[in-house]
Structures are given as structure tokens and as C-alpha cells.
Symmetry: C2
Subunit: 177 residues, 2 copies
Amino acid sequence: MSFNGEQHPGVKQPTAESQGFRLNHTMLRIKDPEKALAFYSRVFGMSVVRRLDFEEMQFTLYFLAKLEADDDVPEDDAQRTAWTFSQKGLLELTHNWGSEDDPDLQYHDGNAEPQGFGHICFSVPDLKAAEAWFDANDVEFIKRSDQGKMQNVVFVKDVDGYWIEVVQADLLGHMGD
Amino acid sequence: MSFNGEQHPGVKQPTAESQGFRLNHTMLRIKDPEKALAFYSRVFGMSVVRRLDFEEMQFTLYFLAKLEADDDVPEDDAQRTAWTFSQKGLLELTHNWGSEDDPDLQYHDGNAEPQGFGHICFSVPDLKAAEAWFDANDVEFIKRSDQGKMQNVVFVKDVDGYWIEVVQADLLGHMGD
């Protein structure tokens, strides 16, 4: 499938074998869960839908969803785990126990060298209101909507330094023209 | 909100200011779009829903979605861009022009040092069938479902070396117990 004549090098037609596959989550390591969870819940309105502790391997996973009105998260643990792994677009935050007490630990954002992962991105209904909300929460900006070459694209940092892009979908119609 | 008494350190109650926020995409840099798009379309069944070229900055963005039966992607470019940025759980692949011809370039997976980003994860309806499908496509495994401490969790590498976790939701009910 190619829309409106766009060139998509290398693309193959999906087959039956990948039917039902779903992009469930993106995993980022965090230094201090108290800080990271406060940030993603307060600033981006995410909820922790499942916490999984791995005693032997000394880490905890926090699965975060931006819940919508019709999301019905099961209370039962096993059901909630299965629900979590059947969703689309979650954020998984990994806490290796004790990392918050390591003064030398700072996770790598993927934009400084060596590069790889770039950012996660939130779509918001009102970009100007979102910018004001970030300011009210002392969120660190990399780029405001009126700065740089990409107008109406905001970049902020989360508490571990990972980049978060923030956009308003209906302001980007002519991007890349 | 906390489910079944789980402890979620630092979590705040979401407020009205984050209403309508949506986790739109995760961005990864890719060396060769032909290889990366072949991989994600063929093996994981993803479709390129929007390509955006930035001539001045010499890069192209490919937005990939795992389309479902009821997804109705607009043909018109501007509408399709707005549609893209209003979705949940997309993958954005960034191609810096010419990177495919740089023999020294290998993007960083975030799991070797320095650590940060860990992986993306796909949920699949049948994990054993997915493993056979990966083998049929010569996908490189990091861990098969029956290896290591985490049973029923698969890790493979994409063509740039990024880690992809693959799980079957209903096999993970007792994870973390």
C-alpha cells in the first residue's frame, strides 16, 4: 500500500503471518521511579496500569498508559497483566533497584553520541496550552513551538533527560511540503 | 488511581491539563530505509502511513502503523499528516540522507553502554507461530521463548540492531508473581 504516490523504498505487502501483531510498548530505563512516575503522571496524565517486580533480577517494570474514557482496566492482577500486553502505545519504565542512589548514573538519551533512539512523541489537543502547562510544571524545554526550523513542534526533556516531542496534529498538515 | 493495592511511588492524579494527550510515536534512527522498511513491513506487517522529506535538513521521516481493519487512512497528504499525528503507538523511522553509504555508521541500541532506551515490543496472537515466522525470515534472535529466566518472552533484533520484544498477552498473566 502506498498513499498518494509516496515512495516507500523496500516496503513489502503485509502477509497473514503478521496479522494481529500490535506495537505494544516502548521501554526506557529510569533512574528514580518516584521522579519519573511523578513526571509522567502529573505532566502527561499517564497512569501506571501494571507494576511487575522481579526480585531475583532486582528490577521493577512500570507500564504506563494514557487512559481514555472507554478504557476498562481489570482490577485482577493476572487479567490486568494480560490487558497491559494487549494494548497499543504504552510506555514501559524499567527501574534497576538502587539506581536512584548511584551518583554517577545518568541514562543516555540517544541524541548525544552514540545516537540511536531519538524521542517519544505526544499529540496534544492545544499546543500553546500544553506549553503553558509545561512551564507551570518547570519542564525543561529543548525547543518551543516558535523556535527553530520546525514551527509548531515542541521538544521537552523528561526527568531522565529523554526527549519528548509534543505536537498538535491539525497544525502539521503542511509539514514536509 | 492504583490497581489492587499496587505501590506506584510518586504518582499524581492526572489533571484536566493533560486531557486528550496521546502517546503518538517512538522515533528510531535507521541507517538504510530500504532495509528497515522491508523488515518492518514484511516481518511485523507495518505500513508506511506517511513519508515526510526535509530537503534543507537532509532527512526523511517514515511513519509506520500496524493498521487494523477499521483504520481509515486518508489519501490526501495534509489530512494524512494530521491523521498520523493523532494516532496512538506509531513507529517513526528517521533516515539521515546518505547514512546507508557510511561504512562506519551503526546506530546505538541503548542496551550496550551507554544504556538508555531498551526496546520496542510487539504483542502477537501466537508466540510460537511468530517465532517460526521470524525464523522463516532469518530474523536474528536475542532470546527465544524457552530460553532464559523470562519464559514466553522473545527478543529479536531489527536490521539496525534495535531490540524488539515479542510477547503473547495471555501467556504472561503470572509474570512478576
